[in-house]
Symmetry: C2
Subunit: 337 residues, 2 copies
């Protein structure tokens, strides 16, 4: 079968790879209906994380082909959405709502392919109410990571009624955080973006205000919009030092920062955090916790996160997809196996 | 009148200073019944923070002598406890429960004296139900900062029923956090301490376990005591890089770190925090929020935080008090004006 391999930075190829098969009794093998390229795939692509012949992809929807003897919640023929994190669903961390840090879990890989093996299938996959209409596929795929991650950012930032929520980062995750804040009932949602096409999508997803300034100027603008106090809730969806400090400083004392950008070379000054007195919480999103709710919202057509995919390519053209995202010509690329 | 001045590092003197008087209509002047030396006073004493002729002290209980025209909640003759942070009690930050970051507030100073001016009296002071019995004075004084700060640490770490709480730091604040965790209903309280006298007090305040190891070895011990998961709640009550990382790494994913040690040269690695996936919250304690509840518990003799004072000296001997705390011969020193 065909699968995407990142040979080294900027060298993405589609190659013949081994067919996945059941190894553990808790595994499932699924045939992928759609997969996609993640913003986090750009870190190794850009040489910021090391990479060497890596099978790529951790977002996926598809049809179960085969299950191990211990799997009970999904069966061959089911259409499933899975989290990018693997989780057993039974350890104390999973049952407390943090499956992305499951004591026995790990991360998915190799889903940019025709088929993929999903370990810990019962704790990782959720089946949809039936076969989805084709127009729902992109939204269900988004739930696998980018929507679930933006949703977690908005939840970690305690977005909700009466709250002003600011979102740092206008990538796919930031845009999904805006959609999530809207669903969670936020009163005002400030998108921090300087790209016209992303501003447009941000407004479509629920942003009420746009701030183009960054860094200290961005912070000053957020303060100006909030009677000098800062936002109640800020989602950090980039992962750099500048964006993290922008998020912390844009939040009022007692407010909440939800950070979901994978941190790269970030050092948070302790004294700064102490006197900012903001709640800080983030990490790999516990997507599996949110999946049943997200699938329901998508199934009932109450949200349309699939709009975040602005380029669809055949799996064979994966390299072009990486290039388009790297050059910011595309927000997020859907691949059809 | 007499007051404590830190001339420079390690040079503490008691001198004749100007009598405080009402300056703003929101001021009160109180005559101090008791005051004390804070662990945070040791930072400038040790030369880690700059200091130059600083009137010292931010913890206080006493009797109101005079009030400004705008003060309505306390009157001359009232016995009052005040927070070490000044707050108006009316801004959005105060009403949300974070008076220690009041938009119009600041920090108390000069309470190691016979009298002190308290700005923003209505939002800062709380009067007791009547004149306290003398044996309650130390406990009421503790509420002013050290108890309120330990309490905040335990609240920020979400201590409560069913939770295992670990406390990093066996200074006065750490000990108070243990007392708070106990009151908040924690199931298990692990004190991280290697000093016998402090271990004894920790057990008296509610610690169920003692861990003597520090750093990575301390983390390993906490994991060992919690089925490999880490504590649900960890209070950081020191303020150094080692103690902060010890706290973060001792907490299970999804758990909560409450940090109340004033951070000194702390840099929190973003990637480490991301993959630890712990809630991190701290800062100057919003003591004023807790004061009514703490005063009630003390008044009803349900808690005895005053035990944390293991040395009482006349105000005139303040220099000896600083020395005793610096050399860790005393946990916390009460000064009698």
């Amino acid at each position: 079968m065909r699968g995407v391999i990142m040979k080294s930075a900027r060298d993405v190829r589609v190659e013949d790879v081994e067919e996945p098969r059941i190894i553990e009794s808790t595994d499932a093998v699924i045939s992928l209906t759609a997969t996609c390229i993640c913003g986090s795939d750009l870190w190794p692509y850009r040489g910021i994380e090391p990479v060497d012949n890596q099978p790529m992809g951790h977002e996926y929807v598809g049809i179960v082909k085969e299950i191990g003897d211990a799997v009970t919640t999904v069966a061959p023929g089911d259409f499933v959405v899975g989290s990018f994190c693997l989780s057993d669903g039974t350890c104390e961390i999973c049952t407390a709502g943090y499956p992305s840090r499951c004591a026995n879990g790990g991360f998915m890989s190799g889903s940019q392919a025709q088929k993929v093996r999903v370990p810990l299938a019962d704790g990782t996959l959720v089946k949809t109410p039936g076969m989805p209409d084709p127009d729902l596929i992109p939204s269900l795929l988004a739930a696998s990571d980018v929507l679930g991650t933006g949703w977690f950012g908005a939840v970690a930032a305690e977005s909700g009624p009466g709250k002003t929520v600011a979102v740092v980062g206008d990538g796919a995750v930031g845009l999904m955080a805006i959609l999530a804040a809207k669903q969670l009932g936020a009163e005002r949602i400030i998108a921090m973006s300087r790209h016209e096409s992303r501003q447009k999508l941000a407004r479509e997803f629920g942003a009420t205000d746009i701030v183009e300034e960054r860094g200290d100027a961005g912070v000053a603008k957020i303060k100006e919009l909030t009677n000098g106090y800062g936002a109640h809730s800020v989602v950090e969806a980039v992962g750099t030092q500048e964006s993290m400090l922008q998020a912390i400083h844009s939040t009022r004392p007692g407010g909440h920062v939800g950070f979901v950008g994978v941190s790269h070379d970030v050092e948070i000054p302790g004294g700064d955090l102490f006197f900012s007195e903001v709640h800080l919480f983030g990490g790999p999103a516990p997507v599996r916790r949110f999946l049943p709710e997200l699938i329901k919202l998508i199934w009932e057509r109450k949200i349309n996160p699939g709009k975040v995919f602005d380029l669809t390519l055949p799996l064979e053209d994966a390299a072009e997809g990486y290039k388009a995202m790297d050059e910011r010509r595309a927000i997020k690329v859907l691949l059809k196996p």
